[in-house]
Symmetry: C2
Subunit: 507 residues, 2 copies
């Protein structure tokens, strides 16, 4: 039985590839459709030769701008002045992925995770600024909607950053409950910066808000340099209360906890100030680590840990431009870049009794796959009427197969939505191809001209030695992937971006 | 009871420090002498409130130029295309150190490990070239001598690189048996390089040699681009045979295995060629990993693993100038530099039943400490007639104290031997001070002028942000350490280097 839902030409290690771009696209879409036609029986079929499992509760914890090497279990922790015992413990009890990829910044990663679709398809490839009146299309089928339709209760506690127009707010995109904030964290401190005139703000941005499904947002409290310190604490209080209230429900739950840590500015919660030897960033990381532990502890206390899958990851790499208020990656670059430092992030899966404790894997997997994998595990229906780029990795995650179903990851940057938009980068096996790249959000940019750059990221993890000349077979693979994507975007046109191209990397 | 043997003013977290340089030196030396006067009872006393343990067999495995992040248990392994399951397993069964420091290159690290003395004291701060007629002074009391005098049988299988004059050869420096090679690996391929005229070589260097205590060296086979592939395999065969032959002996053994892996050129052993996806370097790393496992397996098969302490470390960071025939560090720089990439190396202690399995520590410890710690554990006599910079870390290693006895590490580079020679760098707590530094063996050099550079290596692991201006207290600490060292070198003059200052970093 073929479980490779979605994946867009990526799923098949043994696929036969057609030769023209149109054929490639059609072949892929056909593959996907065939799989998805049987989607409702996927979960059941998956378990047919092992003990049947109830649909698990699902918890996603998403760190903001946490670097690959920040957690101790990825080489940092105490080494970088901020121990992370709870994340390390989570890795010991679960599956630690070392080639897990996010998008290059907040908004596209969140969009990719909740839709399973490349941000260029959903018009969400760039973060929007406050007041830009942008947001995710109400036509998108988010993971919250898919799981909600499958009988899950759903809630989000934390940072949204997928738009501020009414129909794009979380309580209108599939979540039963929302408590949190709409924008990137630093937007809430604009009015306190030197030289800022409060008359320019015109009531934006909103503060900490809440709403139940379909309601209008209510402001709970304003956000500023003082109150930012307590956002995660407040979100956590509500998240834990929600989980406790759900534990007696007959329906499973999906809780999405997008922390405001470790995004700058790391305004210290006084209970954590000085706990690390790394300053505010490290203190914030340790606070977040503590919150990760609280979630796992609560699941154990409620006795539902064997029926709850928890995922912890980060939306992108560290904000190097903000040093010392930033994390660390052993790789090149940080947020806003397609170099490894920008997109290779920690990711831990945890499900006691179902996911082998202490497993580690360097297989390629990405944020898009969270959508498809969790939808499948939850018995939800992966949309069949649009391209889904996320791949079902449930067999891999559960240890029933050693390999990921993914051979490559593609990144688009900017507001371009044309079908022939050139991807900024692709990881394919141990290689990375770049057509243009930035060392950090704020540059400098490397434009690689007519010949894309090729790096071997196992031999050269800091992407310093461009080996395109002797590795044109990698560029051939890139071209093939690109042609397939073009074909699918001709068949299913992308949603134009509503963001204005004012962020780094706009094109 | 004070167990801090050696350490040169470093050992006492609670020491009172005198105020003049002479007093500091005197104070330290007095401290050391007081400790060492009771040295013969150290081992017994250490165990007085726990079950007495027999003196363990001691095995040191030393990798050549392996980078901090090469092993999987330090973040690399499969991530970098070369899985290291045996080193990872060793870490799971033992103690993994994440702030362990070597010297900046082969020779000084080997000298520091075998003497417990700063390479500037022994004249061994620079690697010597073939035919330079240099070597370690026969006056030095090596770990092999100390343990030999304490009743150990001793042997070395692998790379020496502490000199080629007769009295400096290993069979004359405390080892009962020697099989291996005298120089750095690439010296054996000189005669096969383009443009080399064999008439220039005049019989140097020697090949694979062997000798028993006091004998002249015998050449077993020549070394060249073909035969280099098999050196570790041949050494390992003899090392394992030696360990097996020793297991029935009433005396404990000390076996020193300085691998030729992973020094360039990584001439592939055909049995390992292509096993990694990283090319010859990765294949060599995997071969070495296999050999590490063979040693541990043999100890277990013989049933002596509970009475054998095994240490695995590297002599310095990766040879970045040789990419792709090089390892990787997440830190700045490689071999030849005092940046973290040059001197922060993997180090795993393994002693089932005595060292807690799976422990990890970021406490500062260094190669010098191996001498003192292993001498103490073996009941050997740490020399009391000369400054010993290594500190006894046995209580820390055995988990009887959480902290290392070391607060700082100092590095000297070059052939200078004057007492007031300025150290190239010091790590002190989470800070690094540099007076001059090289990004790689072959430069470029940063000379920091009149104000040393200060980096916070927890916040800034790649040493990019010089914060000397706001951290003059770190420079004060550096100055205090420097003054103490000057005083001791006035009292005990350094042995002048016999190496010619032709290597990078010579001064």
């Amino acid at each position: 039985m073929d479980l490779k839902a979605g994946g867009f030409g990526n799923s098949g290690r043994s696929d036969d590839h057609a030769e023209t771009p149109e054929d490639i696209g059609a072949d892929v879409v056909t593959n996907r459709r065939n799989v998805l036609a049987n989607n409702s029986s996927l979960h059941q079929a998956m378990h047919e030769d092992v003990a049947p499992a109830p649909r698990p509760n699902i918890v996603i914890m998403l760190a903001d701008n946490m670097g690959y090497m920040d957690p101790g279990c990825y080489g940092g922790g105490a080494v970088l002045g901020a121990p992370t015992p709870r994340m390390d413990q989570m890795a010991k009890e679960g599956l630690r992925l070392t080639s897990f990829y996010s998008e290059t910044q907040c908004t596209p990663t969140r969009a990719a995770m909740l839709t399973g679709r490349l941000p260029i398809r959903t018009g969400m490839a760039l973060a929007s600024e406050t007041g830009s009146n942008a947001g995710i299309s109400p036509e998108e089928r988010t993971l919250a909607r898919v799981l909600s339709d499958a009988g899950y209760n759903t809630a989000i506690f934390g940072k949204w950053h997928l738009g501020d127009i009414r129909e794009s707010e979380p309580q209108n995109m599939g979540f039963d409950e929302f408590f949190g904030l709409l924008y990137h964290l630093n937007s809430y401190t604009q009015s306190e910066r030197i030289g800022f005139d409060p008359r320019w703000e015109a009531g934006e941005p909103l503060g900490l808000v809440e709403a139940k499904k379909g309601e209008n947002l209510t402001e709970v409290s304003p956000l500023n340099v003082s109150s930012l310190a307590y956002v995660d604490e407040q979100s956590m209080e509500r998240a834990l209360a929600y989980i406790k209230s759900q534990s007696s429900s007959a329906d499973p739950f999906f809780v999405y906890i997008p922390f405001v840590r470790t995004h700058f500015p790391s305004v210290q919660n006084p209970r954590w100030a000085g706990k690390s030897s790394k300053g505010p960033y490290g203190d914030g990381l340790m606070e977040m680590d503590h919150h990760v532990g609280m979630v796992l502890d609560t699941l154990k206390e409620l006795g539902i840990e064997n029926n709850t899958i928890v995922v912890l990851t980060s939306d992108n790499g560290p904000t190097l431009d903000q040093w010392p208020d930033s994390g660390f990656s052993p790789f090149r670059g940080g947020i806003g870049t397609t170099y490894e430092g920008g997109v290779r992030v920690p990711c831990i899966f945890w499900w006691p009794g179902m996911i082998e404790a202490g497993r580690s894997s360097d297989e390629i997997i990405c944020t898009l796959d969270l959508f498809t994998t969790l939808a499948v595990l939850g018995g939800g229906e992966v949309p069949a009427d649009r391209p889904i780029d996320g791949i079902d990795q449930s067999e891999f995650i559960l240890g029933r197969q050693e390999n990921s179903n993914r051979e490559w990851v593609v990144w688009y940057i900017g507001t371009g939505s044309a079908a022939n938009t050139i991807p900024a980068a692709v990881r394919w096996h141990q290689f990375k191809v770049h057509t243009r790249a930035y060392d950090s959000f704020q540059g400098p940019e490397s434009y690689y001209g007519q010949i894309p750059a090729v790096y071997n990221i196992e031999m050269d993890p800091r992407e310093e030695h461009n080996i395109a000349g002797e590795h044109d077979f990698v560029i051939s693979a890139f071209t093939k992937i690109y042609r397939g994507l073009v074909a699918s975007m001709i068949e299913y046109p992308n949603t134009p971006s509503r963001a204005y191209p004012i962020s780094a990397g706009a094109s």
